[in-house]
Symmetry: C2
């Protein structure tokens, strides 16, 4: 008789297991539709890692689990990865939501002292505990909807002290919350009010003082810059990226959202992990992204939320061979949405991605946009055992079903952390 190795957990008999297994690296172009489907698939977990993927019959021959969970009738996917959020803020901008409906543009509202700067005022006035509480409650809701890894940007402090306070909140909450966090420094989110007439001095400050200090403290893995109309110029963006690279931070950019600036091409040439938004990306930018290791992160909820007429040209990017990821962009102004499944629906309906392409976009490609493709984003041997059992039978049903939360069981590092809409333990 064969001796079976002990393991901690087996998730058994999924109607459809979408493992996202495949060659290393982000999925590009047509390969983005390859999601490693195994009907009847099961997963074995030990020490928080995936130790086997296959049919239950095979797995049971080799492994004996402490806990077994049936996924009968259900889709099983890797835990979802949200590669672009601004989730550490306080307050809200519900009144602006109404102003925009009544015809004011995002830029109008910013010019009138609302917009990002109103959240900056709120964050500067908030306590550390307040920042942590706001972030933790948003992560709770994200986790309940299947997100197990998320990027969180600073960018509502805009002083060294307040940027560090935001990033420290991310670190402290990340240490105790089930959602795995990746911190990004976004001091170059907008020019703060006190530097309005001295924008060059603010860019100087970001590059010479803030970036080196954030890097020295190890508070962020990435540095991001918002290059656009009403934000920073291409030349300013280049300076920020150069300073970040010099300090050893990974690079990200807010690119071509309201105006085409070419920052995405520059980001691609500089080896950025991602270029995000891309609603007005040019053909040349697309070629640069396709030729690079930079992931194109689309934010379709934002397009809907700010009332822009056109979504990013995701199909053209896919056809050109870009690796496309999708994120919520969770923030109080332009995308007050915590749900990657809803972002997937809009990826299909707005970006015209297929359900398989959308799933790749919120798993393995999103993981690569965070430099974590080696650790999360697929169910493969040795990777983190982050997975979601969904109350639908296939990956097509996930974006097709809008409204109700479909995540039945959420597992992080091999532990069940949420079940049928409830968190299993206080974090």
């Amino acid at each position: 008789m064969m001796v079976r190795a002990p393991c901690d957990l087996m998730v058994l008999d999924a109607a459809e297991l979408a493992s996202l297994s495949g060659p290393a690296g982000p999925r590009r172009g047509r390969a983005q539709a390859e999601i490693g489907i195994l009907p009847g698939g099961s997963v074995a977990v030990r020490g928080g890692r995936v130790v086997a993927v296959g049919l239950a019959k095979e797995l049971r021959k080799r492994w004996k689990a402490v806990q077994e969970i049936s996924a009968s009738g259900c889709l099983v996917t890797p835990g979802l990865v949200d590669p672009h959020t601004h989730a550490v803020f306080v307050g809200d901008r519900a009144v602006e939501f109404e102003m925009r409906i009544l015809g004011r543009s995002y830029q109008d509202i910013a010019a009138a002292g609302g917009g990002i700067l109103s959240t900056v005022r709120a964050v500067r006035a908030a306590s550390d505990a307040g920042l942590e509480k706001g972030l933790a409650s948003r992560l709770d809701r994200m986790l309940l909807q299947g997100t197990t890894t998320a990027e969180v940007k600073s960018g509502y402090g805009l002083t060294l002290r307040d940027e560090i306070r935001q990033l420290e909140a991310v670190r402290r909450v990340g240490n105790r919350h089930s959602v795995r966090l990746v911190a990004t420094f976004l001091g170059a989110h907008t020019v703060p009010a006190e530097f309005r007439k001295r924008r060059a001095a603010y860019v100087d400050r970001v590059c010479r003082r803030m970036i080196p200090e954030v890097a020295r403290l190890g508070l962020a893995r990435f540095c991001d810059v918002f290059v656009d109309r009403g934000a920073f110029t291409l030349a300013e963006g280049r300076r920020v990226l150069q300073a970040a690279r010099a300090a050893g931070l990974g690079l990200k950019v807010h690119a071509e959202e309201f105006e085409r600036t070419g920052i995405s091409s520059l980001a691609a040439r500089m080896g950025a992990a991602s270029a995000d938004h891309l609603m007005r990306v040019s053909d040349a930018d697309i070629r640069a992204l396709a030729a690079s290791r930079t992931v194109a992160v689309c934010l379709p909820v934002t397009t809907l939320f700010v009332g822009e007429p056109r979504y990013a040209p995701a199909r053209r990017m896919l056809e050109a061979g870009c690796a496309v990821a999708v994120a919520t962009d969770l923030n109080p102004g332009s995308s007050h949405c915590d749900s990657l499944p809803l972002a997937m629906s809009l990826a299909c309906l707005g970006l015209r991605m297929t359900p398989a392409e959308a799933l790749t976009a919120v798993t393995i490609n999103a993981a690569h946009a965070l430099g974590m493709g080696w650790e999360v984003g697929s169910l493969e041997l040795g990777k983190r055992a982050d997975l979601v059992i969904w109350g639908v039978p296939s990956h097509r049903h996930l974006p097709y079903t809008m409204g109700a939360n479909l995540a039945r069981t959420v597992i992080v590092d091999g532990r069940v952390v949420a079940e049928r809409g409830r968190l299993l333990k206080a974090r």
Copy 2:
């Protein structure tokens, strides 16, 4: 000392109580933004009815409740009313969802034997228990998201027997489920395959045999007809509505969705309870609706889901003095969405309605679209005590917050039926 009257339940100290109180009848035009806000508002319930609305201090002087629920920090609204669903079906059309993304139109898919007719085949083949189970599970999810009254249409049977089976499923499930149901006969949903070359004979059958029999059995309150390209003509629609009126049924129409036919003007002249879809409504139609008692029901999720470029001109309708309601259109083909809060977000983002107008659209105006404005849709003395406590502080935050389910406590007829994402008893 004053004697306090006993009551069953008090919901106390809402951050914002939106009672939707006001003059009788649907809210029209600018009045649609009047939602009866009472900061710090409380509600007392007795015998399943609202017996008092006011501040807690006042209510406590007059009433002594068996149960008290704090709504501190929360928005309280009437239970939401979904005035247009096709919720009694089996199977799904997730594959079509993908086909549409790949470029096939709703009409293409229907012409290829998919679309409504594929659901008709599934419904005809389903058992009664299967029909009931599908409907009940959808109602569970709707209730968890704040819907306490819903219209459900037949229209996937298209034989007298199968239409009656659908309507009987609605009746049986309605008798045991907390969601209050209103049944609509939609035999004229599409021409069934067996009548493809004899459409006049099918219209005859609907008018002479099915409508009288459904009315005789008391299985439906309304009769609806789908007048559009690929469905029925204006003349056929008129016949159906005339037969329905003769049989004593209320009238509803699927109007001006893919093509302008003028059925909405006709419905207004005939005193229909509602005209629904209206994406291609003309100025003349809008004038006719504004001058009538017919509620204009917009379905923004459907517009998004079928990939149409333009939403219904809700602002023009509001400015003309129409009463506008919003529904999910829950169905397996063109709107697989069970969430009125999501429909409210799209009412704001797509239809450009304000949060207050959107709330009116899914409460009192939706109730009037079902002829139930005297019973539900607002928190006023004598009305059903259907209400929702939301985990947000104001009505603006409801459409502004996308993703997570915000309904904290759902109360029907004065009983708590759902709490933090769980149904409180098996139905």
